[in-house]
């Protein structure tokens, strides 16, 4: 479905994740963060950059991986993006919701 945010039309799935990363920009990220009641600080942006880099490398994301990234530890990650940090952080970063392997 289409959604207008930060004066830009983006395509999202039913859970609100961007379906086309190319439609993401920093303003979209800021606006998505606001929707999730988060004010982005420098530290948030470092995490978002890391998530986007991993996404571009097609490397699967997990909370463990972010904890070992050297960017934040898991506790910090939770304090930056409270409750379901990986889900919230990936949504703001404009990348797909990480599929847990089953």
């Amino acid at each position: 479905m289409e959604k207008t945010i930060a004066n830009k039309t983006i395509t999202v799935n039913e859970e609100g994740y961007l379906t086309n990363f190319a439609e993401w920009n920093k303003e979209v990220g800021e606006a998505l963060a606001k929707e999730n009641h988060i004010d982005l600080t420098n530290k948030h942006w470092q995490v978002i950059d890391y998530i986007q880099d991993e996404f571009k490398k097609e490397s699967p994301l997990s909370i463990r991986k972010i904890g070992k990234s050297g960017v934040v530890d898991i506790k910090e990650f939770y304090s930056l993006f409270p409750s379901g940090p990986l889900k919230t952080a990936t949504k703001i970063a404009g990348v797909p919701k990480p599929a847990s392997c089953i």
Binding site: R64, C101, I102
Partner: protein, 411 residues
Amino acid sequence: MKRLVILGAGTAGTMMANHLHKKLNRKEWTIDIVDERKEHHYQPGYLFLPFDIYKPDDIIKSIKDFIPSDVNLITKKIDRIVADENYIQMTGGDQLHYDLLIIATGAKIAPEEIEGMKGAEWHKTVFDFYTFEGSIALRNKLRDWQGGNLVIHITEMPIKCPVAPLEFAFLADSYFINKKMRDKVNITYVTPLSGAFTKPKSTAALEHLLQEKNIAIESDFAIAEVNNENKTIVDYGGKEIPFDLLVTVPTNKGDELMERSGLGDELNYVPTNKETLQSKDHANIFVIGDATNIPASKAGSVAHFEAEILTENILHYIKNEKLSASFDGHANCFIETGKSKALLIDFNYTHEPVNGTFPFAGVGPLQLLKESKMNHWGKLAFRWIYWNMLLKGTPIPFVTANMNTAGKHFN
């Protein structure tokens, strides 16, 4: 002579030995399989041990009984794989050169990853059921447990047999009903996922069953520690859940051998092409079963389907042909739901489990994503199929390596 070496004589490795000893030209190829253990455990049976449904004898046999006589079984510990020089360094000094290597070393639990999990209460009030020892200790505990808060918990994904903790919850419900003490037990299912399962349609069906059985669910719980003193599990967000009996599925990891050899990712799984099953870093190394990092279930059925694909690709590789056999992520799992019923799910990388019939479109006899007694008998029959057909590489009639979409209701 050229040498093909298989590391690990569990489900996947044993199946590969049985496929390849018939398919390779034995005038050119020697096959070795290496495993330090002597016993082969039917791991799905660990689920049933705690409830006294299976006895240890039902699930343990000797590894050598399943290895063809023209395959060398080497019962030794492996120190590391020296992939750049194509040899295995055994503990104690021996070296084993290979031309082709199949890694089938599986996955196992790593409770030490979570603070306090392997603490003072380990195997006293905190149990796993992913090891033989854990299942037996839990069986002994359950036999005279008086009731209280039973918490069934998954630490993090991926885990082997992702439906097993749910099955444990359902079987526990039945077990306490039979013991006439269900009213003395609160069952809570705690998961790091957002729901009972990872795929939407089966999550809906399974959450309905949890509700029906009066099992509470706590989702999005990312455990930080087990507090042995207060008997609680605590998550990174600060949530705390008290337990009298904690049955946890700890972090699962690939074998430490991968870390020692520099071949694994952060969980010791080997980066593997999800279609061809070739290692991403070494052309003459293939990986199968729980040891891979592919986004498929870690389950015996997956290893079984992979074994057929991998056998074809090994033959292509030897003939310098394109690796044209492609794995689709096919998994087929029975889910015990208690009271002698079970569900069946069939899915792959792209298709989630849905309703329908299996293996014959429109006929069954097994029903997909629906509780039935027939599915339960299917699950129990599977132990026989495992020992007598699956490990030996005998095709299971009408069940194909790649998933069949006929007879399934996708919308």
